[in-house]
């Protein structure tokens, strides 16, 4: 390559049944929140993202547009697309997570027979992973 380009700092193992777009958006926001991608850092171009993750360039384009629109990324003229400061949550997001998502999760945990301690340990482990102490 004759020009410098940013690599994609996450991998994608396609999970069946979910749209590729959703999976890539999730992986990207996860790596921003975990600190693997820092604000101001360059984000992969459409072509690089498509080639790295083996996805259709149109999907890669949609992902980047979506991340810009949701303010995870911003366009700096002359530089390209860079990681923005994590956007503030929309009003209601917190409420939705703590009520609805947790309820769904608890129901599912009960169904598979996990007990409260297992669940709390798993959440703590997941929380630590996301702190991005790397």
């Amino acid at each position: 390559m004759c020009h410098s380009s940013y690599v994609t700092p996450f991998r994608l193992t396609l999970a069946p049944g979910k749209s590729i777009f959703d999976q890539v958006v999730f992986a990207a926001t996860r790596s921003i929140l975990s600190g693997a991608l820092q604000p101001g850092q360059g984000f992969a171009s459409v072509r690089v993202l498509a080639a790295d993750l083996k996805i259709h360039p149109n999907t890669a384009h949609k992902v980047i547009q979506h991340l810009i629109q949701e303010r995870w990324l911003e366009v700096r003229p002359g530089i390209g697309t860079v990681v923005a400061e994590p956007p503030e949550a929309r009003p209601g997001d917190r409420q939705r997570l703590l009520k609805e998502e947790v309820e769904k999760f608890v129901v599912e945990a009960r169904r598979v027979g996990a007990d409260l301690d297992d669940v709390i340990d798993a959440i703590k482990a997941g929380w630590r992973d996301m702190r991005g102490d790397k």
């Binding site: 069946p16 498509a50 083996k54």
Partner: protein, 297 residues
Amino acid sequence: MIIETENLTKNFWRHDAVQDVNLSVPEGATCALIGANGAGKTTTMRMLVNVLEPDRGSARVLGVDSRQLKAADRLRIAFLSENQELPDRLTVAEYFEYLRTLYPNWDAALEKQLRAQFELPPTRALGKLSHGMRMKAMLIGALSFRPKLLILDEPLSGLDPLVRDEVMSGILSQADETSILISSHELSEIEGCTTHVAFMVHGRLLFQQSIEAMSGRFREVTVTAAGGLDRNRLPESWLNPQFDGSMLRFVDAGYESAQKLDAQVRQRFANVLHVESTPLSLRDISKSLMRATRQES
């Protein structure tokens, strides 16, 4: 539609290679043509580019009847197949010099970039290239004139994982400007870039759909019951049912919702404890379709 066929049919001796295929590929799509060996994928592709003439029916490619494709149309269509013949005595460099003269729309910068990326030895004769390098050379030949339509017959077969990656990234680098029809058995490799799927069985087109619609209607289902399950007559859309005591496993090819599936299962079996359905990858969907439609011969 960039490709549209109408009752496309080809018989070899008395064997129906392709039977009444109505294939439509929308512009901009990357359509995976999938099917077991001998399903008619290659024959279909060869008719699209007029290497073979249909016995019946017709194909329109870029709006032109495949039998009427002119030299000017050929400048917009690339066809790559693993058993394509190359001028073996030419060196890599001579081959591309030759191609450059054939295509007024040749993009020399792209050729140069891909040749550097693929590390093709310029002085080596084409006949002395490994299979992987031959495929790379053909792919550069197919991509460098920036075709509107790329027809790829098994571009990944016989390649090692590293070369497969390189070939895929070459294809992907142009997928946004080109419509692609690709046949491959490397389904995990192509799933991410596929927008549409066309599935062929014994010379016929079983279905064609967007990949989202297709993944939406296939689920692997496990039914657990208290006590044994009777081998009732099952719906035709339940593929490859396997009974194992109080368990039944199958692939539902007509899945709509968990509620509906649950009701269908409980309607047939009295003592159902649990119905679980999980989505499937393109590879697993294809495997179950191939298994379900395998002909006993």
